[in-house]
Symmetry: C2
Subunit: 342 residues, 2 copies
DNA sequence: TTGTACGCGTTATCAG
DNA sequence: CTGATAACGCGTACAA
């Protein structure tokens, strides 16, 4: 029944003006007389006109849309960030296309998004990207419409919003050592980018080194940020003939999975073993025992990254120097770490 | 440096054919000769051509993009669903725009998305929508490019993917009653749509009624699906002069928040109080005590809803009868509910 | 201040 | 099988 959508021509006819005038009345109201503006806006509402974004994008060579890429949106860490990104972007009139777990050749995929002019820029939370290929993504003026916001990809040429994970991990492990622990393990997530070592592992090693403690390879478990991988680490832990007294899990989800397996096996935290996480997801304060962890300001990260990207897109100037934003982290002491028993 | 993107005309020139032929070689390869197809595809890769989606959308009157609307993507329940939606949509070549916590007049907002031809259809997980307004969203052929997938909005005219929440809640509360509980409370989330009563509350009441148990109003707490609201309910619970022996929380997050407050106050679950949740989010099996709850197949819901929408969009026929899909739920018995103490 | 006319990049139609 | 051409709906020189 509602036939076709009204176009700018329908509005023009209704208001007895040209299409150019309608367009002006809509995008630059001050360049049109009061009377005309009135008539146009009346015609807009009486026809129910909505501007066609495809046509507008084509003409303007801009989609007013950004892409946000995640390695795994199912992780609550990212979903809070997405929440903030959506808020900030929609507040500024941008649509947000979400890309998740890009397949093989993810960089190619993202390039397509950009070059097909579906999106004007992107915020990347996925570290498994080819930075050289990424550099082919440029605005007509030669700017990089990209912001990297995750724990990998420290390409000096890119804009980024990345907390100082190394230092945060260092301080977290120092805290454990300060509690009296000397036998400390770690659940580590190998970087997808083979050239990179994970900053959290680096921080762990640095703290151990400065206290002259040995990093025992059999106490380094591998995970992938999922609950399941934390559970797997828990089983591996239980098989250990000689166990550490504390474990630093690379994120909260792995810590929670790890703890749940230990609890079932009768290992009580923090009495028998201290466990700390990383990120401070919402639920971290509610589990038993409440998790000692490092807070990353997730909403802030999402907001900053989005704002940076949109500023790049909307600024006129060259903006050659990459932004490097470092959101603050904070040690959150709760109940899951305590001095080692004897 | 990379000047402007190559267009179909550049490819045509390079391959010594017309733009029409290039277009055909790309979209309907079988309608051009082998030799031409070869030359075109060579020209495509040598120019680095990528089809311009804005132009394509304009011409085709279709964006190959869908919108997915959530009340709160920060909730892990939804983020798993989003994961599945993205997977299914991108597999079929659709982009996904995410809308979250739409402001006032959310329906208007969604209509704009559609009418501006930014999106061809939408999957709605948000119950606070005006179904009458929603009905103005139609494809040119008069079909509804909408799928509602949440616990509200049971508009008979709309396609939907909704579990039978009432029955699931009924069985969950029956289980509690079977354990011996007679004094049962509920953390309830009021429907945003005033015409609707929440199905989970209905199931709760039905179970109580069939066992001739009294629903005590002071044992009905109000929440909003957030951890914080579960914590608030916990404090309200602690203030109660006369307490129930079991509480059915409207979702897992509220159950977890609720439990964490009780634990701090020395109320031990399930010894002093049984608590059950709803949804079976990933973390439910890891908390202490592991949560007894009802599983909703979240990935399945996301996948089904997306598939239904894309089928509607791509089918030729009229498809007048609304799809009504009812994903199965399952009672998941863990540790947080036990017979009442005496 | 307003109108005319063209082009953004693609695809469908219609001839050849 | 292929080419010329006309839309799709909007923004913007340029002219009035």
């Amino acid at each position: 029944m509602p036939g076709k959508s009204p176009t700018i021509r329908d509005v023009a006819r209704r208001a007895n003006v040209s299409t150019a005038t309608v367009s002006r009345a809509l995008s630059t109201p001050h360049r049109v007389s009061d009377a005309t503006r009135e008539r146009v806006s009346a015609a807009v509402s009486s026809t129910g006109f909505t501007i066609n974004q495809a046509a507008r994008s084509l003409r303007l060579q801009a989609a007013r849309t950004i892409v946000i890429a995640f390695p795994n949106i199912g992780n609550p860490f990212y979903s809070t960030i997405l929440d903030a990104v959506l808020d900030e972007a929609s507040r500024r009139g941008y649509g947000v296309l979400v890309a998740n777990r890009l397949g093989d050749n993810p960089t190619q995929w993202l390039k397509e998004y950009f070059r097909s002019s579906r999106a004007d820029g992107m915020v990347l939370f996925d570290g498994s990207l080819d930075t050289d290929q990424l550099h082919e993504i440029r605005t007509p003026e030669g700017k990089f419409p990209l912001v990297v916001a995750c724990d990998e990809l420290p390409d000096p040429r890119l804009h980024s919003v990345i907390a100082d994970n190394r230092t945060a991990a260092l301080e977290l492990v120092r805290y454990l050592i300060g509690l009296g622990h000397r036998r400390i393990g770690h659940i580590h997530v190998p970087s997808k980018n083979p050239a990179l070592a994970s900053d959290r592992l680096l921080g762990f090693k640095a703290a151990m080194a400065e206290a002259r403690l040995t990093v025992r390879p059999e106490w380094i478990f591998e995970g992938d940020f999922s609950i399941a991988s934390g559970e797997a680490a828990g089983h591996a832990f239980l098989d250990l003939p000689d166990r550490p007294t504390a474990v630093f899990a690379g994120n909260d989800e792995m810590a929670i999975g790890f703890l749940s397996v230990l609890r079932r096996a009768g290992v009580e935290c923090p009495r028998d073993l201290s466990v700390v996480g990383f990120d401070d997801i919402d639920i971290a304060r509610c589990v038993t025992p409440a998790l000692t962890t490092v807070r990353q300001p997730r909403a802030e990260i999402g907001r900053l990254a989005t704002r940076a990207l949109l500023d790049i897109l909307e600024s006129e100037g060259p903006c050659r120097t990459p932004l490097k934003l470092v959101p603050p982290t904070e040690l959150v002491i709760r109940e899951s770490a305590a001095p080692p028993g004897r």
